[in-house]
């Protein structure tokens, strides 16, 4: 909080205007009364955090001429990749390396686990080089240094082996096992196995033709052996009189319940006194923090834990999540707006239409006027950049709009006179309408013939009082309707704010986080003329042949965070 404040600007993607909740009429009594068009966007509303994006996050569809935010693009996966083919430490999320349990004083071990495996035989463990957690702490060791994932799936914490679902299935088929009916210890039934058993059981129940009504059983010969089509047909013909259930499988009527662990029924054991005494003796240090538990994948290899997952020795190495590279399409016209190289190693993009190269960027600086030292337009006045704003004292901010496209744009700004929220600061945009010149090549500008350049310069001077872009003369007073300063493809204008006082009436709730930041909602409308074909990528000169050109406009809300208001 004490750190200096950096002004920022956020843009609201227009896609969030079409919120479906506005449509609902009778569904919710709590939706506010219908909002009129000139309702100002409230950056303080909790919902706004979901629709505001920094300019860098936004894309732009060239064909629809519309901003596209991460919420309104269609994504496709270009490639999957593994950021690190190993595991994460469950304690500190550092990467785990395979090391031999017999620690030999070999420094290469930690660095290159896979190569160092060759000289060393014997059991291996996963070790975190950061917090020194090893999987031996939870009793997990591996026979081989590779294929850790498969090995881990067969191991419980503590080192006991378990059968994977596949092995269970094979075992069930194996007649030698079937001959001797082993009453499976119900405690042995872990999540994955219970799920598999249940699945097998249900499938058996559903596929069993005898469980169906005898009268309909013959339909199975006609290709209706699928339980759902069977039930569907039954429901058509019987009119539902016999079948009172809402689940299709119960409509078969004869599916029984699972009766033993082999079918997925697991009777709970409720005696947790051992766990309690363990908790008693180990205290807080023996338990995993919430963050660590959240990082754990669902434990598939243990019987239901019911609270035992809190102990450190039930933590499991966390497999790294795969990542993806994604290409993005415009959801409306299906054009690709971003496409990365499919090779994992490269960070380049084949197509990337970022909004920053289509819509003007806004940068904010505080303007020091009062001193009159003439030190320049930079904010290096007496007001230290980032210093808190004095309440109830007018402050001035310089908004610089930089035009990235090769056409001259006309910008119209709209801002509510007072900021929404509990603390209403007054905002005045001194010059709400202006033009920003095209983003011509720097060399074009330099190589233009003199007459044109003179004309250009004159035009600029005509609008701004002093086109002497270097300094600020005493004549450079704040004037309503005048541009402060103008450059090749940028224009600066002044916004005057009178920050509200943050004094709270007694009994009001205290300031929320960031409520002292003065945020200005501003509606930006950008108009420009572009060539019809839509390939305005070429550096077209500003000279217009208006027949082949069409008018375009883009309008959106943005939020300017200009500074913190000093609290008393």
């Amino acid at each position: 909080m004490a750190t200096a404040f950096t002004p920022y600007s956020y843009i609201q993607c227009p896609c969030s205007d079409i919120t479906p909740t506005d449509r609902r009429s009778g569904g919710s009594p709590t939706t506010p009364e219908p909002d009129d068009d000139d309702r100002a966007f409230d950056p303080r509303a909790p919902r706004s955090s979901f629709s505001l994006y920094p300019l860098e996050y936004l894309m732009y569809c060239e064909d629809c001429h519309q901003i596209r935010c991460p919420r309104c693009v269609a994504e496709e996966i270009v490639t999957y990749y593994c950021p690190n083919c190993l595991f994460e430490c469950p304690v500190c999320v550092g990467p785990l390396a395979v090391t031999s349990v017999e620690t030999k004083p070999d420094p290469n071990l930690l660095a290159a686990p896979d190569n160092s495996a060759a000289p060393l035989a014997g059991p291996y463990a996963l070790t975190c080089s950061y917090c020194l957690w090893t999987s031996t702490e939870v009793g997990i060791q591996f026979d081989k240094p590779n294929g850790i994932h498969a090995q881990l799936a067969k191991l419980r914490n503590g080192g006991t082996t378990r059968l994977t679902a596949k092995e269970r299935k094979e075992r069930r088929k194996d007649p030698s096992y079937k001959a001797q009916p082993p009453p499976p210890d119900s405690q042995d039934l872990d999540h994955e196995a219970q799920f598999a058993n249940l699945k097998a059981f249900y499938q058996g129940q559903l596929a069993d033709p005898n469980t169906a009504d005898a009268g309909l059983a013959l339909l199975g010969d006609l290709g209706f052996s699928s339980p759902t089509s069977l039930s569907r047909i039954m429901s058509i013909y019987t009119g539902g009189s016999l079948l009172h259930d809402k689940k299709a499988k119960t409509r078969l009527g004869a599916m029984r319940e699972a009766l033993d662990p082999d079918e997925g029924l697991l009777v709970a054991s409720l005696d947790e006194s051992a766990a309690i005494s363990k908790l008693r003796s180990e205290g807080l240090d023996g338990t995993a923090s919430t963050a660590q538990l959240v990082g754990q994948p669902p434990n598939m290899v243990e019987p239901p834990l019911h609270g035992n997952e809190r102990f450190l020795d039930t933590l499991r190495p966390v497999p790294h999540l795969l990542r993806t590279k994604r290409s993005k399409r415009c959801p409306v016209c299906r054009h690709i707006i971003s496409k990365p190289e499919s090779k994992v190693q490269t960070t380049r993009f084949r197509i990337r239409l970022v909004a920053g190269s289509y819509i003007p960027s806004i940068s904010i600086r505080q303007l020091a006027l009062s001193s009159g030292t003439g030190s320049g337009t930079s904010a290096s006045g007496p007001a230290v950049p980032g210093a808190p704003l004095e309440p109830l004292k007018p402050a001035h901010f310089l908004l610089t709009f930089k035009n990235p496209i090769f056409e001259t744009i006309k910008v119209t700004l709209g801002a509510p006179a007072t900021t929404p929220g509990r603390f209403a600061s007054r905002v005045t945009v001194l010059c709400p309408e202006f033009e920003v010149d095209a983003n011509t090549d720097v060399w074009d500008e330099a190589l233009k013939n003199n007459a044109e350049r003179d004309r250009e310069l004159r035009r600029r001077r005509g609008e701004s009082v002093s086109a002497n872009s270097g300094g600020i003369s005493s004549a450079n007073q704040l004037e309503v309707g005048k541009i402060w300063e103008r450059g090749r493809n940028w224009v600066s204008i002044v916004v005057e704010v009178v920050p509200a006082s943050l004094a709270l009436a007694p009994g009001n709730p205290p300031l929320r986080e960031d409520e002292d930041v003065l945020e200005i909602p501003m509606f930006v409308r950008v108009e420009w003329e572009a060539e019809m074909a839509g390939d305005e990528v070429g550096a077209a000169p500003s000279r217009s042949n208006s027949e082949a050109r069409e008018k375009r406009e883009l309008a959106y809300w943005c939020v300017l965070g200009v500074g913190r208001i000093r609290q008393r």
């Binding site: 479906p20 689940k247 029984r256 699972a258 079918e263 947790e272 807080l284 338990t287 919430t290 993806t324």
Partner: protein, 566 residues
């Protein structure tokens, strides 16, 4: 509400489109429907590898997401204040940044930022709920599921008491942002029952905002009882316990509503340390006498200044005691919405018909976040069996009843014998199908009418018969001869609501309520018909193919199932 809407429903909560067949299919023999199946649910041959169904389980504090057929969800998204930040706001990573929970908790929203919704929709910003759901899902899809944004069918697992506005907000958001062709709704108690392999169950959901006891009978929710004693209360109690042990701070008064510790910290300590004392009669105190003096050191960082508390370990069972049992009060002193858990379970069982009760009581499933409190499940069960022993299954209590029982002029068997007789643990419940409220008037079981009824033939159970027939014809292994357990208290494990739904979807069962995207976007929740209305329509339509077609041409009626209608 859920009881009435589902119990009488014959068939078709689902849309007519699912059973739609082209005209003429009806008469032309049973071979045509196979060719003309229009529903994607229908035949096993339509199993497409790329057609993966996404299953989402909504909880108050977390969201679990995965593919159908998987044993466990791919990822879990917890709701928290950092989820409410703007994109590109990386202050969490800034050095020295600390979440200012005090100002965020002002105005009684101590825990609110950690929740997706509250059932009291008067104070809920529905648009925000939609936004939260969307962001959480987007995170999950990108981080855990690694899927692109092609439309996929979804199955939602929801608590059956979810208010329609919340459901509607979530549906709105998902239908517009993710374009799933259909969203099917499954109630989580049902999914839990499926995940436990039983058809009937008593699901005790020790959830975050409340504890719900749902009775499921033959895959139908027949009753639900709720109590506000849930995880939120437990964390509050933990906070109070910790605050009590803090050195007296400047603000002093411990009774004030202000929170002195952050929610995050209290929640963390709750999930790590809070445990539940065993039922006093089980008598484990003696052996623990040596360790009685054990203490726990708890470092606290969110207080005014970081400090370390040293608490007796036994004190850490207090929050659980107060939040769930409140044993210092008599059982009659509670409101209906704040019943202690054992009483809640007892009453839920008590209100069930005898037959249903016998089945349900041996299929108790504990679920929800608070079932992870060590010892809580056993405690509830012990208290429950204690209650049953004490009271039997007699809902009438009070002085008058005692007088009646002790009145020597009325010749009655001793009370103990009577209880044991009524107790389904000892008596076969099917024989006792007396129907306690046969004609709206209460009848004691040993009233003069009872013997007559007990001599009556039990109602034939078509399902049991079918099962018997199936096993008799040698359908499977001999395992079918085993009878299912009834009438004794038994707790079983479920693979969880998410996994249960995954199982059900994988087996291509049809969901109660399936909502079509187009229809929803047109009508919203107001388009949902009452379940009863749809039933009649479909019944009528199913009589002839013409009616069937008319129904589907009109878009098909659909319902929100147990979630009711507007």
């Amino acid at each position: 509400m859920s009881t009435s809407s589902t119990s009488s429903a014959p068939l078709p909560h689902r849309s007519v489109a699912n059973i739609r067949t082209p005209s003429g299919a009806g008469q032309s023999g049973p071979s045509t429907p196979l060719r003309n199946i229009s529903s994607s649910f229908s035949s096993p041959s339509s199993l497409r590898a790329d057609d993966e169904i996404i299953i989402i389980e909504f909880g108050t504090r977390k969201l679990q997401v995965g593919f159908s057929g998987d044993a466990a969800p791919r990822g879990t998204i917890w709701f928290g204040p950092d989820q409410l930040r703007r994109a590109g706001d990386f202050r969490d990573w800034q050095l020295g940044y600390r979440y200012d929970w005090r100002s965020a908790a002002a105005g009684g929203s101590w825990a609110r930022d950690y929740e997706l919704w509250r059932y009291d929709v008067r104070s809920v910003d529905l648009g925000l709920v939609g936004d939260k759901v969307e962001r959480a899902l987007r995170d999950a899809f990108t981080k855990y599921m690694l899927i692109d944004s092609r439309p996929r069918r979804m199955v939602w697992v929801l608590p059956s008491s979810l208010p329609i506005p919340l459901l509607s907000a979530a549906l709105d958001s998902v239908f517009t942002r993710f374009q799933p062709p259909t969203v099917s709704l499954l109630s989580s108690p049902l999914a839990l029952a499926v995940g436990a392999g039983v058809r009937s169950a008593l699901v005790v959901d020790l959830g975050w905002s409340e504890t719900v006891v749902t009775s499921i009978y033959e895959y139908r929710e027949v009753a639900a009882k709720r109590s506000i004693r849930g995880g939120r209360m437990l964390v509050e109690q933990t906070h109070n316990l910790l605050a009590k042990h803090l050195p007296q701070s400047a603000e002093g008064d411990a009774d004030s509503q202000e929170h002195v510790l952050s929610f995050e910290e209290c929640s963390d300590i709750t999930s790590r340390l809070v445990w539940c004392k065993p039922h006093p009669t089980t008598g484990q105190e003696e052996e623990d006498a040596a360790t009685r003096s054990a203490t726990v050191r708890i470092p606290l960082t969110s207080w005014l200044s970081p400090t370390t508390l040293e608490l007796p370990f036994d004190d850490l069972s207090e929050p659980c005691e107060t939040a769930f049992f409140d044993t210092q009060y008599t059982l009659t002193s509670f409101d209906d919405d704040e019943l202690p858990l054992h009483l809640l379970v007892y009453r839920s069982l008590l209100q069930l018909p005898l037959d249903v009760r016998a089945t349900c009581m041996s299929r108790i499933i504990f679920t929800g976040g608070c079932s992870a409190v060590l010892g809580l499940r056993k405690r509830i069960l012990d208290e429950l069996s204690h209650l049953i022993q004490q009271r039997g299954w007699d809902p009438v209590r009070g002085k008058a009843v005692e007088k009646l029982l002790t009145n020597p002029k009325l010749q009655r068997p001793p009370a103990a014998a009577r209880r044991s007789h009524n107790n389904p643990e000892t008596a076969p419940p099917a024989q006792e199908n007396v129907g306690e409220e046969r004609d709206g008037v209460w009848h004691d079981h040993d009233h003069s009418a009872a013997p007559a009824a007990s001599y009556m033939e039990p109602e034939p159970d078509p399902i049991e018969e079918q099962l018997k027939r199936g096993s008799g014809s040698g359908s499977g292994s001999g395992s079918d001869q085993r009878t299912s357990v009834r009438g004794e208290l038994r707790v079983i494990e479920s693979v969880g609501a998410w996994s249960g739904a995954s199982l059900a979807t994988h087996l291509k069962t049809m969901a109660v309520a399936t909502i079509d995207r187009e229809v929803w976007l047109q009508h919203g929740a107001t388009g949902a018909s009452k379940p009863s209305e749809v039933d009649h329509k479909v019944q009528r339509q199913s009589l002839g193919p013409g009616g069937l077609m008319r129904g589907s041409a009109a878009g098909g009626a659909w319902t929100l199932g147990v979630w009711g209608s507007v």
